[in-house]
Symmetry: D2
Subunit: 386 residues, 4 copies
């Protein structure tokens, strides 16, 4: 079947493949070569535990003409997770968006490598039914409209050869691709936190009051939280969610650090942000979460939202004390130099600048509309009774 | 000081007092009589543990001309908590609205009693800085515009006499009002779930898979969940929230049953409701939560929202399995005859009616706008560089 | 080229074509036959001026095996335009959605005919870049998921044959399709108003106070307004809009009756609807307009919105007096038995039930948050200055 | 009654009165003096036609110890009207917010003068039922929390003396206050346009293509448009609106320049702004309009919205051609170096970078959800039929 390999000399050009080192993208690497592409493999390090050098060797052994191992973990935390923490981003009330945040980060570097290599194509191993294909490709097109995307799992000539895992394994064996003996646990980028656009409004320090340990760089802090929270099973969810392509799917997610940061940020924000600003920002965050989930991180509207949400964070500053125990995050207290909480004002024993009689006027004016409505309803009801 | 009691013969008329049996409303009861009112005491049973007969005797002993002990617990669960569960109601991302739901329920009966008794006034013991005064009074005015509200904690002639707890205790002692030895734990109405406007879309049955226990009436089910979840410390929060009157306050809340029902409903709703209906409904629920918190349950807009949200619940039906452990609720699974989750459609091994090539078109069309935007940005940037 | 016609005996089955009688769909009719389909032509009468009998003869002459001329004008007005009037539907602040409302109405009958005829296919002549293709097809799929849509303007075998009008004309001449001498004015369905889901809340009567003429059936009323307003050039706009497929396009629209009904409904609604209900409904209408524009009339979310908006219309009832002159609609006055406008309450000379001192409390409580914010800002600024 | 005038030596301090020169504020000036205040009169010139020197003399004659005539017209246009134009601000779909924009501008200077004069009080002549009292006072409190506001129309000792115009006239006559013979036309600040926060995104030049006249400073441009449009009766509306204090009121407004700028800005924005950014910004503008109407211009949330909306305006640049005729504004065309309108992309004869087959995938994926919904509905219906 592949005797025409000699014709591959007439290359279809270079393709940069988002490579994970796993079975799927290894097979895709080989298949792309068979199709006549020169393949550059790109493996993003976003903080996952991985033997990157082994992956490099594997890719070269499979015929990659070049391999990029790119450590984007710091920019992932600072430029993608931090803004999501600022937004209290939550898709459909529950999902903290781990993977959805990683895709635009990985794709951005993918496009940069393609431009550096003069490659006209990029490729990925995301399936044809999922969200990740959309996230990868919208990012690529937004950043480099002329790029061509090769998505094998959407090409009949590819996916019809591989109706199941067995065929993929057969192909791997045939082409000398090492097959993992045990099914690898699904790749989990899923830990996270937000980025220092507004230098004062991002996580800056974690202190373990138990042993006094501290972490203060974005990445270390995030990794540390992930470890601690992960041990306590914090942030595990089993949900049914709505994919952008229109189907419901079931997902089991684990975002330990993300969950801690979500609760901590929510708390300090409520402490320092004006009520009405918060309400507007909450609406923007809902939209932001949807856009990120759907793959529109690199879009004018998402950029606009990040700017707006960033603005709202200007006063968000302070310290939150919390404990992590048996899967749960408990907020114990908070303090802030920018607190809008005024103990005197709220006290039941001190009036402060507050005049109780004002509340009477406030209530009366607020009830005016309700009374008018009642008056009319009665009139209408009476008429109907007549 | 009170020698003028003889003039009380010229009654100011009857006032119905929302009476809790505690120190504050006991003092208020006596004070209202001193002011020349005939006082009818009304104590609402919304499910709290209370010695209602003792409270009745106490009120009569303090001079109430009549005492109503009203069991509104079932209507509280069915007509106020159920709609909130349907809405996934959450104020400022965290507060499940226990008290805020109880007030309009209690106030509705308060007004009914006033009308039955021909009373022109109602009174309550809520402070002048809080939300409850607003919730009580807006409810009263909305349901009976002509009612007059007496809010002693907003009247200088009252609150200036009682700048602190000590003065209140002195007054109690002087008037033979029993003073609780230990400060009573704050009254907690705070357990909850939603009401059968749409008969099929409310909690209908709880089964404890451990011991086979089941509960299927609204009230029993709710009380049972509250017990179970309460034992595991589910639903305890310590938050800073924004009151309607404009100040931030700190609140510690406990809503065990509410928390379970929140998670369970969220889950089964995601399983059965269309993605876009869900998104619209989520926006309505945000508004609903704010209105309920602010005391506008009995308002045309809140009524409108309840109708809309009720409509959205038509397909929400099914069973959720969950476990409660150490303060945390874990969703274990769900099933429903109305599920929109289609395993075949989402499967990676079966295409179902799904054509992967369609995703290419979908992505391309979605990227069109992004590419145009990029094209223009580049043009603008180039111009600026020239 | 077409010598393969003998093989057409093996029919691809029946296709129902949304036929307009114009050049494009006439060519498509012939082309579909060439492709091996039996063609049923369906021409919808939604109120446009057309010689329907001539169109029928033409379709038969071109080889249609059957022709349906369907008068859907009444259901168009009652079931599609009326709900849009109730919503004050406006896309991107300006477009009154004429065509966007007609498509789901036409498509619904198209699917019905296909089912009656046992046809597996439907076809339309909408271009591959526009909104109408989406509107037609989403409607068809939503109402009959198994239907197959043939969209020639998206099939390379069709559109590559017709890169320009000239090639289309050549094809027409060759196949005996009558070619219009003058370019026909673009087909304009664009007149509109809303449907009697809530019998009391739709336009029920128009009276011309000049000559006393009245119209009171939905369709007649609508046609009459269209004539009157059309003569005065009401409702003509020249806009750039955003298509659902991601491009901006320029459109010149004319919706005379729609414009009058928009202004009249807006006015009577403001007169009779509670302020806060109105605000919520306004948000729903924004979403409704977007959905309708994008072709999602027949969708769970649009159905949900129509129900919600319908509910809001319960009190909307009354008479609006207006004049139409030189392209402009002037509201002259309104009256309603359901008016929430209370002249006494608003009067500057009568207090009514209004206590001016209450406004003081209302303002003070509303300013509390602003004062706290100022207090903190000052503190922060002072600190920064130090 | 006022024989105690000698005691006025014990002044209540200085009050700065927002003075219009009319009957009401003239009477208030005298009355404030009677109450023991030293009165500083402040008359804001926001562009209205007025004999300011006559007003100064009148105030001094009535006993003002000092008079400020402040020309704030330029800052009104640039800092208040321009942002509203950028927002396409419209309250309840119709009202262009003229007066609502003027109040925070006038109040800001009022507070500045009070601070300069060391005055602890400010006063205004707005009635106790209207919006203007709220707008004035929230602005004052937000900018200077310690200020005390004297609002005579809410003080029983004032308004009970003046139940009607007659009593006010009697008082005027008695105190030598000149009474206007004919009722003055209501004061109309109501002309407007937006301010150069973002230097490129505000109206910069008007050219009359008829006579070649041009205006390019903010104020002149605005005044010119007001004259032109006013002559053609542009922007006159008769509406019923919802006041913040809870009542409906009828208003007749005229905002000629505002109407032109609204249409022009809407048009150029649609031409240059991304579809999704526009949609988000539209939501923000709705909120902005409500806040401005309700008097919250000087608030953290309104400031936040102005920043966000300002951001969105970065690409909004270009020229709009329009005609004004018989009360109507017609957009004739637009051009912009930042246009996102791509004639080639939208053309029916050129494919451009657009692949029609992509629309098929786009539609199919969008219909997936609708088909699933239909599938389930059918199942449910069948079950119900059984």
């Amino acid at each position: 079947m592949w005797e025409g390999e000699s014709t591959m000399a007439q290359s279809k050009g270079t393709v940069v493949l988002a490579y994970s080192g796993g079975l799927d993208t290894s097979c895709i690497l080989v298949w792309l070569k068979e199709q006549g592409y020169d393949v550059v493999a790109y493996l993003a390090n976003i903080g996952q535990k991985e033997d990157f050098e082994a992956a490099r060797k594997k890719a070269l052994a499979l015929g990659a003409k070049k391999v990029y191992i790119e450590d984007v973990s710091r920019e992932f935390v600072e430029q993608f997770i931090w803004p999501a923490v600022q937004a209290n981003a939550l898709y459909e009330d529950r999902y903290l968006l781990g993977t959805a945040l990683a895709r635009p980060c990985i794709a951005r570097r993918l496009v940069e490598i393609a431009q550096r290599e003069g490659a006209q194509h990029v490729a990925h191993g995301a399936t044809g039914k999922g969200n990740d294909q959309v996230r990868f490709e919208l990012s690529c097109y937004a950043l480099c409209p002329k790029i061509k995307v090769v998505a094998p799992w959407r090409l009949p000539e590819f996916y019809q050869c591989f109706p199941g895992r067995r065929e993929l394994m057969d192909y791997a064996k045939k082409h000398g691709i090492p097959v993992p003996v045990t099914p690898k646990t699904p790749w989990r980028p899923g830990v996270w936190s937000p980025s220092p656009l507004q230098p004062t409004c991002v996580p800056v320090k974690v202190t373990n009051t138990g042993d006094g340990a501290t972490r203060s760089s974005a990445l270390e802090l995030f990794v540390y939280l992930n470890d601690i929270a992960g041990k306590h099973g914090v942030g595990r969810i089993d949900i049914v969610e709505n994919r952008f392509v229109g189907m419901k799917s079931r997902g089991i997610y684990e975002t330990p650090a993300g969950t801690i940061l979500y609760h901590a940020h929510l708390d300090i924000e409520a402490f320092t942000m004006d009520r009405e600003v918060r309400k507007i920002k909450q609406g923007l965050s809902l939209k932001f979460s949807e856009l990120v989930y759907n793959g529109f991180w690199h879009s004018p509207e998402c950029e606009f939202l990040r700017e707006c949400i960033g603005h709202s964070q200007e006063p968000v500053e302070g310290t939150v004390r919390l404990s992590v125990f048996k899967g749960h995050v408990y907020i114990l207290g908070r303090e802030s130099p920018r607190s809008l909480y005024n103990e005197e004002l709220v006290s039941m024993n001190v009036q402060g600048d507050y005049e109780p009689a004002d509340a009477t006027g406030f209530i009366n004016i607020n009830s005016l509309r309700l009374k008018e409505y009642h008056r009319l309803q009665s009139k209408v009801t009476v008429k109907q009774d007549e």
